[in-house]
């Protein structure tokens, strides 16, 4: 395992899944140079782990849907590199975790497979990082179209796209997201003349403003679908905001964000099918008003 992590398990004591997170963390640290962050002590004495959490990529292991470890990482504004939810992983592996807290053979088998998976993923991740520059975003997108009168609204069907009801998309891969507006926005605004980007390094909470666009019709705030830190902006838009009209999904993207808690953000986002219904309704209502 080339890469070593700071491992933050939830360490839960009220469900078997919590005990499994602890066991995975311990076995990972026994096999490699991974170091464990105690979730309880981290809250009591922050300084003990701050440096470790910032120096090493962070692996968060949650036991259940409460996601105490992810929440702690978000609270401390840590960047999560890798995460595992034991309950979800158990479902994938067709393992039913017992009601008790002792780890039976099935649970120990699950631990073993999770450790192997994380070690392998880490190796793959190293290889991927070696070659990764802009592989992050798909080189081409597939679209589905909704047509109303002469207006055509496209929506990318590629996996990884999420949408909020404010008509802003996020393409999410790992711990990183690219954000932009949908066709509904650019068509509603018509010719976009000005774009004010967010500041690089800005800490954004889901539904915060992520820049402003202005057309002859209106000024429109971009409402961020995700929480995190802005790492890049599309500088070309400052001098050529018309790119937002030309293709808001590809060359008209707005910003890139390092995510802090996408699991929680995703609760309030739609994937393709959900947002397509919203888009159709908005378009239909908009045209009716006309």
């Amino acid at each position: 395992m080339g890469k070593t992590y700071a491992v933050l398990p939830c360490n839960g004591l009220d469900k078997c899944a919590g005990c499994v997170t602890r066991e995975i963390a311990l076995q990972l640290s026994a096999k490699t140079d991974n170091e464990i962050i105690c979730p309880v002590f981290y809250r009591v004495a922050e300084a003990r782990y701050n440096r470790l959490a910032q120096e090493k990529p962070l692996l968060v292991i949650d036991g259940c849907a409460t996601r105490c470890a992810s929440k702690l990482a978000a609270e401390k504004r840590l960047k999560i590199t890798e995460r595992l939810n034991v309950s979800d992983y158990a479902k994938e592996e067709n393992v039913t975790l017992g009601a008790g807290l002792s780890l039976d053979a099935d649970a120990l088998g699950l631990v073993r497979r999770a450790v192997t998976k994380l070690l392998n993923d880490s190796e793959k991740d190293n290889a991927r990082q070696m070659s990764e520059v802009d592989d992050f975003f798909p080189s081409s997108l597939d679209y589905e179209i909704y047509k109303k009168d002469k207006f055509i609204f496209r929506l990318p069907t590629n996996e990884g796209f999420y949408f909020n009801e404010n008509d802003v998309w996020a393409y999410v891969s790992g711990n990183r997201a690219r954000v932009g507006v949908t066709d509904y926005v650019q068509k509603s605004l018509s010719d976009i003349m000005f774009f004010t980007p967010p500041a690089i390094g800005a800490e954004i909470v889901q539904f915060d403003e992520l820049g402003v666009m202005e057309s002859g019709k209106a000024i429109w705030e971009i409402i961020s679908p995700v929480s995190g830190v802005v790492t890049a902006i599309n500088e070309k838009l400052i001098n050529a905001p018309e790119m937002l009209n030309q293709n808001p999904y590809e060359q008209g993207w707005v910003a890139e964000i390092d995510l802090t808690d996408f699991d929680e953000d995703s609760d309030l986002l739609h994937v393709f099918d959900g947002y397509m219904s919203i888009l159709k309704r908005k378009v239909d209502e908009y045209r009716v008003k006309d």
Binding site: P9, C10, N11, G12, L13, D14, K15, G18, R22, E23, A25, L26, Q27, A30, I36, I37, C38, P39, V40, F41, R43, V44, A45, T66, C68, A69, K71, L72, G100, L101, S102, L103, L108
Partner: protein
Amino acid sequence: MADKKVGVLACSGEECLGGTISRLATRRVMEKLRPNRTVTLCLPLYIAGGEEERNFAKEYPVIAVEGCSKHCSTCATEKYSGKVHDIVDVAAILGEDVALAKTVSARELTEKHQDMVKIISREICAKMDAIAGA
């Protein structure tokens, strides 16, 4: 009073063996020794949790089971809920050198570790019984 429920809150720490012992001893009490009289909370959830968890020390007399002198469980209880009734300190009972040793995974647990768990769980039971008899 014999069936009086008592809150037992292990530090469950990952800093040292004491945390592991506190965790296993609490589980032993909860699952085997006093199954119907023990109420516990997951400490990480407790700290992150909502209002219902905050009443824990008000609803039950709480015994904090501490792995080491940092007393995370006591600190958390007193910060979020109320006074702890009693403390079982693994370091004080088994010695600091034992409590501060490296933490172990389930498959590394030896008979010696299990004996330590038994000592601490007996101590927890004694304090629970004292509360019940009070």
